[in-house]
């Protein structure tokens, strides 16, 4: 005789049948995300780029700053690194097809004879650094600002949001450009003392990236602040916040333990949609020679350098251009996928 199941067990089994084994909303969203192949492909591509950026010194066949002036503007699969004795004796110099035993520039070389492929590999570092650090800066500032405004409410909220409204009316890119010019001019002057000196030292050691981060991050937190405030406003009247307050939780505790965990997910997804914009901005800044400092390779700077000889050497623009496009495409696909996955969960339809 089989033991009779209790009502509780039966209910649980039935629930499992209907609603699946107890999965958290997070797991639900990730299942949804996994089903979206294009988004997964985007995520995989980003991981590959991340690995490329991490192991750039191992992956790049040549030094990204090594000039081979006899081999400038070599077409793809031609051109040799003249620094080895073997190449000097056995390989043809210029624009000749691949020969056995001669190492060659896969993607050709730029105007100074630097291997384009190695520069592209190192370029991943700049783009990814901008993607993650600038969005990190924007999230941290925006989240803090928005949460404080939303939580404080009243007059504080009013004033803080007026400031955001004010900054919205500021033409961002011209101001970014002016600020970058200012920093770069100071750096060229060789200011070494005080706060600016520290900044300039940091900038030099990041290859000119710091100012790009500051410029992009500092002016893109506005949308984040508005969203965070809106979310906080809607959550702060919820019962669980009231319950926390009823058992005597302090404001700081409520914000960090109850509000932020609830609002951070949607905000991060929102931010992931903004990442392509940051990569664009870096490329634009590099295009007008205000991005990274040479010889640090950035895709935008490479397009700028190659653009002058577009007619005869389209590959100098094509390679970094394709890399830039694929990366933003991957971020877009992943961002869309994340949003779809989490939105479907929020709306309760799958």
């Amino acid at each position: 005789m089989t033991p009779e199941k209790t009502l509780e067990q039966l209910t649980r089994e039935e629930n499992a049948e209907h609603y699946g084994q107890g999965r958290s909303p997070m797991q639900d969203a990730f299942r949804e995300f996994r089903r979206n192949y294009i988004a997964v492909a985007g995520a995989i591509f980003i991981v590959i780029i991340l690995l490329t950026a991490t192991f750039a010194p191992l992956l790049s066949p040549y030094d990204f700053a090594q000039q081979n002036t006899f081999n400038n503007r070599a077409k793809p699969f031609t051109g040799y690194d003249i620094t080895t004795d073997y190449a000097e004796e056995n390989c043809h110099w210029y624009n000749t097809p691949l020969e056995w035993g001669c190492t060659t520039f896969i993607a050709g070389s730029d105007a100074l004879g630097r291997d384009l492929w190695s520069r592209m590999i190192y370029g991943t570092r700049v783009s990814l650094a901008v993607a993650f650090v600038a969005s990190g800066v924007s999230v941290v500032i925006g989240l803090t600002y928005g949460t404080i405004a939303g939580f404080a409410g009243g007059r504080v909220d009013n004033i803080m949001m007026r400031i955001v409204d004010f900054l919205y009316a500021v033409p961002t890119l011209p101001i970014i450009i002016m600020m970058t010019v200012y920093f770069k001019a100071l750096a060229r002057r060789g200011v070494t003392t005080g706060f600016m000196g520290t900044l300039i030292f940091l900038n030099k050691s990041t290859g000119g990236l710091l100012f790009v981060f500051v410029a992009i991050g500092a002016l893109n937190w506005l949308g984040m602040a508005r969203q965070a405030r809106g979310q906080v406003l809607s959550y702060k009247e919820k019962e669980f916040v009231e319950a926390a307050r009823a058992i005597g939780a302090k404001d700081g505790h409520i914000i960090t333990k109850h509000l932020i965990p609830n609002i951070i997910g949607p905000l991060l997804i929102l931010e992931s949609m903004a990442i392509p914009g940051y990569i664009f901005t870096e490329a634009v800044l590099s295009l007008i020679s205000l991005g990274v400092d040479p010889p640090t390779p950035s895709w935008g700077a490479m397009i700028n350098e190659g653009y002058a000889t577009l007619r005869s050497n389209p590959h100098l623009v094509l390679f970094p251009g394709v890399a830039l496009t694929l990366t933003t495409l991957a971020f877009n696909f992943m961002g869309d996928g994340l949003r779809d996955a989490f939105d479907a969960r929020l709306r309760g339809r799958k």
């Binding site: 004010f166 919205y168 009316a169 500021v170 033409p171 961002t172 890119l173 011209p174 101001i175 450009i177 002016m178 600020m179 010019v181 200012y182 001019a185 100071l186 060229r188 002057r189 392509p276 990569i279 664009f280 901005t281 490329a283 634009v284 295009l287 007008i288 205000l290 935008g300 397009i303 653009y307 577009l310 007619r311 389209p314 623009v317 094509l318 251009g321 394709v322 830039l324 496009t325 933003t328 495409l329 877009n332 696909f333 869309d336």
Partner: protein, 323 residues
């Protein structure tokens, strides 16, 4: 409504003032000045002093700023240091209409391409056509215009030789200040820049139109309209379309900002003598007045555009009241 507009414009005044104050201080804080060198040689000290006095640069900064702001009301935006035969006002007169032409045409292209494509995709929801449109939209949203512009130039101008490589096909004076002669030269020159600037925006608009229309089509009042026996076309055009465009209007603000950003790149790449290119080429030259005036103009444009967007928002969504 009128009171709302007036209030917005009044709020804009301190914004513009602070923006130009910040820019003015920033450009003057930069090391070096406009008269540091003649060509490759250093400017003799006594000539430099005379020139700086000539342009009032020896005065204290607040006095220079006050004079600059007062002169703006007289329509004088200050002198050019490197091109003494022209003033900043002349430069703006030459470049501003061209940038406006480029921007307006790109916007038109974005809407004319984007909205119908979005509608078609939404009406054929989950069909092959829908997937193709969605995919193409993401693709063209992901191609930055600093990649698209050289690509278009290489394919259509260099290889196929259909369009000119660079420059703008219209020169001042313009009718009403910004309308050029609409001849073939103008359109041939404008095609590639406008396409590189407009298609990305068209993709964004198509995506939003599609999402908006899908949302609206599943709502109750559309079912009512269908239940009344209206023709499908009437349901879509009269009932659904206007509401489905609300999300499009909400992104107009960021879109216009992106237009400004994009015009920097496009004007540089196509060697168009517009404001963005002028701004970028002047950054190393310490043209104090030109830079401040251009930032002022950008700020003014942005404020006007945002106001326009808010007003359109109210028109599209009558639940929104400004008073």
């Amino acid at each position: 409504m009128l009171r709302y507009i007036i209030r917005r414009l009044l709020i804009a005044i301190p914004v513009v003032f602070l923006v130009i104050l910040a820019t003015f201080v920033l450009v003057h804080a930069m090391p070096g000045g406009p008269f540091d060198a003649v060509g490759m040689k250093a400017m003799p000290e006594h000539i430099k002093i005379v020139l700086e006095r000539r342009y009032g640069l020896d005065k204290p900064l607040y006095e220079q700023f006050a004079r600059y702001v007062l002169n703006i009301f007289k329509g004088d935006f200050g002198p050019m240091f490197r091109q003494p035969s022209q003033t900043v006002r002349d430069i703006i007169g030459q470049t501003f209409p061209i940038s406006i032409q480029l921007g307006l045409m790109s916007l038109i292209v974005a809407f004319v391409l984007g909205i119908p494509i979005g509608i078609i995709a939404a009406l054929n929801h989950n069909s092959l056509l829908d997937y193709v449109v969605t995919f193409t939209a993401v693709l063209s949203r992901s191609i930055p215009n600093i990649v698209l512009a050289p690509l278009l130039i290489y394919v259509f101008a260099v290889q196929l030789d259909w369009f000119p490589v660079a420059f703008w096909g219209a020169h001042p004076p313009f009718f009403l200040g910004f309308i050029p002669r609409l001849n073939s030269e103008f359109f041939m020159h404008a095609f590639l820049p406008v396409m590189s600037l407009g298609t990305g925006m068209a993709a964004g608009i198509a995506r939003l139109t599609r999402a908006g229309l899908l949302e609206v089509l599943s709502s109750d009042y559309i079912r009512t309209a269908r239940a009344k026996g209206l023709r499908e076309r009437a349901v879509i055009v009269i009932h659904a379309l206007k509401n489905s465009l609300i999300p499009v209007v909400t992104v107009l603000g960021p879109l216009l900002a992106a237009l400004i950003t994009g015009s920097f790149v496009i004007e540089l790449m196509f060697a168009i003598n517009g404001m963005g290119r002028r701004f970028v080429t002047s950054i190393g030259q310490r043209e104090y007045f030109l830079q401040t005036s251009l930032v002022l103009l950008y700020g003014f444009l942005l404020i006007m555009a945002n106001l326009l967007v808010d007003l359109m928002y109210a028109w599209f969504d009558p639940r929104i009241r400004y008073d």
